[in-house]
């Protein structure tokens, strides 16, 4: 049963990654693109980490995955904010 749950979670994660990539390509504006990218990526990574944690089952592995995901969340948030502010100051070319 747990393998099916892991497979389902990883599939959901991959679909979020797909949404992030498609969002990155299709959205017209820098900010909307950034919005789509950071949301979808972090959710995708979160679901993949959850799926792998279920697949792994050991506590230490789950904690490692939790660290990776938490660090990814913080890193992406800071990066997205900095890029958005930098894009604001960009002189309209």
């Amino acid at each position: 049963m747990s393998t099916w749950l892991a497979i389902a979670l990883i599939l959901i994660g991959c679909s979020f990654f797909l949404a992030g990539t498609v969002g990155l390509l299709r959205f017209p504006d820098t900010h909307s693109r950034l919005h789509a990218l950071t949301k979808a990526d972090n959710l995708g990574l979160g679901f993949i980490c959850a799926g792998l944690a279920v697949h792994d089952g050991s506590l230490t592995g789950t904690i490692h995955l939790l660290f990776v995901w938490a660090l990814a969340m913080m890193a992406a948030t800071v990066s997205a904010f900095l890029i958005a502010r930098w894009a604001d100051e960009e002189p309209e070319h």
Binding site: I7, I48, G61, A75, L82, I83
Partner: protein, 87 residues
């Protein structure tokens, strides 16, 4: 299960390759850096999948280090002065 993890990793790699289009087409430098963010996160996901597909727990630590790469790159990028729009 391993083959599924491998195919999920392959799917993410294809995802990453598609992201190159934004890197090429991106009108401004800010869009190109977003492609970098996408690459960072996608590579971390692929690393994690490979860590469990090939039972290499060390790869999780590699992924942990790699997460910071995209963040540091975008912080370094933000320090760059804006182009004055001459070119």
């Amino acid at each position: 299960m391993n083959s599924f993890l491998m195919s999920a990793g392959l799917f993410l790699l294809i995802n990453l390759a598609v992201g190159l289009l934004r890197l090429y087409r991106g009108p401004g430098p800010a869009d190109r850096i977003q492609a970098l963010l996408l690459f960072g996160t996608t590579t971390v996901a692929v690393l994690l999948l490979l860590a469990y597909a090939e039972a290499l727990p060390a790869l999780v630590h590699v992924a942990l280090v790699f997460v910071m790469l995209a963040a540091i790159a975008s912080i370094a990028f933000v320090q760059l002065p804006h182009r004055t729009g001459k070119d």
